[in-house]
Amino acid sequence: MSAASHTQPAVPPAPTEASSRASVMTRPGAEAVKVKGWLRAHKWLLLRRVVQLGILVLFMLGPWFGLWIVKGNLSSSLTLGVLPLTDPYLLLQSVAAGQVPYKEALLGGGIVAAFYLLFGGRLFCSWVCPVNMVTDAAAWLRRRLGIKGGKVPSEYTRYWLLGLTVLASALTGSIAWEWVNPVSMLHRGLIFGFGLSWGIVLGVFLYDLLIASRGWCGHVCPMGAFYGVLNSAALIRVTADKRSGCDDCMDCFAVCPEPQVIRPALKAVAQDHPLILDKDCTSCGRCIDVCGKDVFRLTTRFDRSES
């Protein structure tokens, strides 16, 4: 690591600029660790991992220890024998395929949809979905190994896929995306047994590592796109309210799974306020962690203040 050459981050002298950029690309957040300490520079990441793994553990307590707090999996579950939760994207496909689910499933889907609609759909991606850990790991390794290039599909691919999976469900009369969905393959695999499903998860990892940077979650996954639609009116949002302190180190762009969402807020492109309102922002808070200048923080969509 070349942080030693990075002594004057605010105004890096021209000759070392290239090498400091390179260090940003492989180890974004090094500056924040120096300024804020390791723990604060990983606060949201750690919190997210705790929540992600905690939810997974809740599901595993049953099969592992016979403690049935939550039964089922992310597709549909029953908590403490009373709270039904169902994935609304699955229900949408099921309805498109011509089924009328029972009221438990509709209620469960309604609860989930209402929660994400209110607080932000892509909280699912950053705080719940187990594939997030896989693609985050791939992105981390890709940076570390300095893998460049590949072929990234358009970021709208996922929205096309979202429409096409619903259409395919209607045409084939089955829940189309479940034939491949790595999210349910991984989650169900961990709880009920994998078979060969781990191959699909490995495929996603390798795709993100070797072919497309942030390819799966940022461009392909129609489930993320579905929750992205639910993210349009998200209450929880990230703001770049101290953007005047930004020193253009680019660390936030390097770690953000959806880097295109930052510019309008940080650089006031096509908007005045510092809120990141783009529906693709997953509210993962990684930008907050890695910023040595504490430019970002989590807030609500109504807080347009700037300091």
Binding site: K71, G72, D87, Q99, L164, A168, G173, I175, G195
Partner: protein, 253 residues
């Protein structure tokens, strides 16, 4: 492209005849694949660990519940907890009497190895059946090999068999001679317009085309109708010379 591929793959996969035996109350396979969200709540509430979610590589749509009777059969719970657990209706709650479940149909598929078909008395599949004497009966037929014994052939009746798999589970052979198959593989189908004369006649309380003249059967004139037994040393009445039958009859076109 990807979605199209997935769609086609899905359509192709669901077009294959399903080999999986589904839990009680499962909708017909095509509807089942549209309704089941692969959550495994049915699996969790089955007290006998009968049900499993299929894994990629099993010959069943990934993530959907099924069971293999030979390993763990369905115990036909009175309260059918698996059906109650299903949130989507992929397992239909119209099913309240487990005796009406039609998970599959038992077929005595190998008559060459079944001990009862060899003329022995095994009867195990018959004895373990929860719907004994209705779903499976022992049909008595003459044993042509010994010519003096009966064979008691286990015979499954689709009207009553639930497909629970207890028979397949208990068959004493190293590979079960009786197996539960999905109805699609186990059953034929009569053409709509077929009528069975004897059934129609019973229903109408008499022949629909008038009582028919019963023609005498040569050589059996002194017998009751239907009695074709041949007594030892029986010689047919000799007013007509006995001619050999079959290919030795000497008949020429």
């Amino acid at each position: 492209m990807l979605a199209l591929g997935v769609g086609l793959y899905g359509a192709e996969a669901s077009a294959r005849p399903a080999e999986a035996i589904r839990p009680p109350g499962a909708l017909p396979e095509q509807d089942f694949l549209a309704a089941c969200v692969r959550c495994g709540l049915c699996v969790r509430d089955c007290p006998f660990d009968t049900l499993k979610l299929s894994e990629l590589g099993d010959n069943v749509a990934t993530g959907t519940p099924f069971f293999e009777g030979r390993k763990v059969p369905c115990e036909m719970c009175d309260d059918i907890p698996c059906v109650k657990a299903c949130p989507t209706g992929a397992l239909d709650r119209e099913l309240t009497d487990i005796g009406k479940a039609r998970m599959g149909l038992a077929v005595l598929i190998d008559q060459e190895t079944c001990l009862n078909f060899l003329g022995l008395r095994c009867d195990v599949c018959y004895r373990v059946c929860p719907v004994i004497d209705k779903a499976i009966t022992l049909e008595l037929v003459h044993n042509p090999r010994s010519d003096r014994h009966a064979m008691l052939l286990p015979t499954v009746h689709s009207e009553h068999c639930t497909g629970c798999g207890k028979c397949e589970h208990s068959c004493v052979l190293p590979e079960a001679a009786i197996k539960v198959l999905p109805h699609k593989l186990a059953q034929g189908k009569s053409a709509e317009h077929y009528r069975k004369g004897w059934v129609e006649r019973e229903a109408a309380g008499g022949s629909l085309i008038g009582e028919q003249h019963q023609l005498p059967m040569r050589g059996l004139e002194d017998r009751k109708y239907g009695d074709t037994r041949v007594a030892p040393g029986y010689v047919p009445p000799s007013d007509a010379p006995v001619k050999p039958g079959g290919i030795d009859s000497g008949w020429k076109p």
